[in-house]
């Protein structure tokens, strides 16, 4: 088996802030082989955005990477300051309204990315962009280059940003909940567009979301994060059909499409500065045992590349927790 396109091994990210040291990510291992679409799912505050920022090399100044490796196409990203990621990893940000500079023309902003990271002349780049604007179904592809961001709607801006992410012909696309800022009908269109583009270009995708529905529509594989650790990973269909970790099971039970009663998960995600010892989920876990507060659970390998960070995954959850 060849090396995966993106490989994250035992990655930890700490952020030093006023409230002390926050261990945002703790020993994350995750890989995205070529052509695979990987979803990262979890509640807000579980570290999924930090994971994305680590991959893109845009961690805040007070962040540090005490251990672990980030490799893209076999190159150590940290060691080469993400130089090998630039242009090779396309990024679709969360908020299309805030991600473009309002005082520059859309075309100039996109061409600047290509000037740095794509071969060819400005004329080639312009032609390529117009072609991409057609592919993302942006109205008036020729005129779009000369417009300012505020002259586009939110959905159109997200299309622009998807075109921007594809402009340098990347190997990997990274997306941070790219539809949360949009209304429901636009969300569907953008997701459909993203799925078609990824499939037709054979791109790899790292997609971060809190929404299992979006995830199911887009990703072959899923990694579930809780409080900065991987709690479960596997093929999306398998994990959705047969979730193992108590957190995944309860999270899925929370989904409005599945839940009979909306009971949610008692408690909240712990503050990153005050992570509990042992399994980080144990204070909220209905099947926690005394040793869960002491021992960090290892990933248990199950058939079909399914793995779960809980030794008690076969225990039944009490009725009221998932009903």
């Amino acid at each position: 088996m060849s090396a995966p396109l993106l490989s994250i091994q035992d990655l930890s990210v700490h952020i030093r802030g006023d409230a002390g040291l926050a261990r945002i990510l703790d020993g994350i291992t995750l890989s995205v082989p070529a052509g695979v679409t990987m979803g990262v799912v979890g509640e807000s505050g579980c570290g999924k955005s930090t994971l994305l920022r680590a991959v893109l090399g845009i961690l805040p100044n007070n962040a540090s990477i005490p251990n672990g490796r980030l490799e893209f196409k076999g190159r150590d990203l940290v060691a080469d300051h993400w130089a090998s990621a630039r242009g090779r990893i396309g990024f679709v940000p969360q908020d299309p309204y805030l991600s473009l500079n309002p005082v520059f023309r859309a075309g100039d902003q996109l061409l600047e990315i290509m000037r740095k990271h794509a071969p060819g002349s400005r004329k080639d780049h312009t032609e390529k962009l117009i072609e991409l604007f057609r592919a993302v179904q942006l109205p008036d592809p020729e005129g779009a280059l000369g417009k300012y961001p505020h002259q586009f709607s939110g959905g159109q801006r997200q299309r622009l940003l998807i075109a921007a992410a594809l402009a340098c012909e990347p190997d990997l696309l990274v997306a941070d909940e790219p539809t949360t800022a949009l209304d429901v009908t636009t969300q569907r269109e953008i997701l459909g567009l993203l799925r078609n583009l990824v499939a037709s270009k054979g791109l790899s995708l790292l997609f971060v979301t809190h929404d299992f529905g979006v995830l199911a529509a887009l990703c072959d594989r899923v990694t579930v994060l809780y409080a900065g650790r991987v709690v479960e990973s596997g093929l999306t269909a398998e994990v959705l059909r047969n979730p193992k970790h108590p957190y995944t099971r309860m999270l899925l039970a929370c989904h409005p499409d599945r839940a009979i009663n909306l009971i949610g998960i008692p408690g909240t995600v712990p503050a990153a500065t005050q992570q509990p010892e042992g399994c980080r989920f144990h204070p909220r876990c209905p099947i926690a045992r005394p040793e869960c507060a002491r021992k960090i659970p290892l990933l248990v390998q199950l058939p079909d590349a399914h793995s779960v960070a809980c030794p008690w995954y076969s225990d039944t959850l009490p009725e009221q927790a998932i009903a």
């Binding site: 005082v103 740095k116 990271h117």
Partner: protein, 337 residues
């Protein structure tokens, strides 16, 4: 854009009309009887009355106001009570000197203030940042008359590098008047020696006058850049690999300078009033020295003319500032129009 410019010009009109009325009211509130001053110590009441009649000071106040508005609109500001010459002529004669000084000061303030503010923001909480913050507090706190004298002592008296006062060396004389700006006129006349001499004379007063503006611009640039650096689009630009230099300069600066440009408009007023003291110290033949004389001799016609001309220039500069802002940020023109 054209609509926006026209709109801005129209919006300046009520302000200018207000200015005309205000100057009239002020001129009547000022203590001191100009007719009595003009007539001198030995004047009889009959002589003072005659002078009143001659300048229209004996008419009803409302009628005087109407006459004032009509005269201003036709460019007739009356004759100086002091020199007897038309004040419009005298003011136009001296305006270029003041403008040359203020523009030079503004030029220095922007040319140094913007990069300093940018450097400070990029090195946020670093040594350069602290230094710039210290300078910007100091620049506002220093009294210009003190700074002027210190600069004169050091650069003119001690080091003998720059001239002490005046606009050009008396021996060289002024270039033939075309625009009234010495630098422009000497270029037009092809007199490079005069041009260099003019710049040498301009340096010290312009630096003195620019310092508070420089401090303000550095401070606003710094806070503007710091604010823009927090924006999502900067993070996005970093993530997609924008060039470092381009990101730190043009990409962030263009957003940040919208704040600074507004400040420039406001600063222009402060510069012109600051010019009064600076002109007096450097013996600069501009409107500042002229208005000081006018105040001392209660020459209210001259004061009116100075106030109005400065007001018009200020309004014009602020229209320019608004237009510049719309060029920098296209949303500005669309929001208003």
């Amino acid at each position: 854009m054209a609509r926006y410019v026209i709109r801005r010009l129209l919006m300046a009109l009520p302000a200018l009309f207000g200015l005309i009325i205000l100057t009239f009211v002020l001129s009547r509130v000022i203590p001191g009887d100009p007719a009595a001053t003009l007539a001198g110590d030995a004047a009889t009441p009959a002589m003072i009355a005659e002078i009143r009649a001659q300048y229209g000071l004996d008419r009803p106040i409302i009628e005087q106001a109407f006459i004032h508005v009509r005269q201003v609109l036709t460019g007739d500001f009356g004759k100086s009570i002091f020199s007897g010459r038309p004040v419009a002529e005298e003011v136009i004669q001296r305006l270029p000197a003041t403008l040359e000084l203020t523009f030079a000061a503004l030029f220095i303030a922007v040319l140094l203030g913007v990069p300093l503010g940018l450097l400070a923001a990029i090195n946020h909480n670093g040594p350069i940042d602290h230094l710039v913050r210290l300078l910007s507090v100091g620049g506002l706190a220093l009294a210009s008359f003190w700074l002027a004298i210190m600069l004169q002592l050091l650069f003119a008296m001690e080091l003998d590098l720059l001239p002490l006062r005046g606009r050009v060396d008396v021996a060289l004389g002024l270039p033939p008047r075309v625009t009234g700006f010495v630098l422009l006129d000497s270029l037009i006349a092809g007199r490079m020696d005069l041009f260099v001499n003019g710049i040498q004379h301009l340096i010290l007063p312009a630096i003195t006058l620019s310092l508070p503006g420089l401090a303000t611009i550095a401070r606003f640039t710094r806070s503007g850049v710091l604010e823009v650096l927090q924006k999502d689009f900067v993070l996005y630009a970093k993530a997609v690999g924008y060039g470092r230099f381009r990101l730190a300069t043009i990409y962030v600066l263009r957003n940040a300078v919208t704040l600074v440009v507004t400040q420039i408009g406001l600063l222009f007023g402060a510069l012109i009033s600051g010019a009064v003291a600076v002109e007096a110290i450097f013996d600069w033949p501009g409107l500042g020295t002229y208005s000081v004389q006018a105040i001392i001799s209660a020459d209210y016609k001259a004061l009116l003319a100075v106030t109005l001309v400065v007001g018009f220039v200020y309004a014009a500069v602020n229209v320019l500032v608004d237009v510049a802002q719309a060029v920098i940020d296209p949303r500005v023109a669309e929001d208003v129009a």
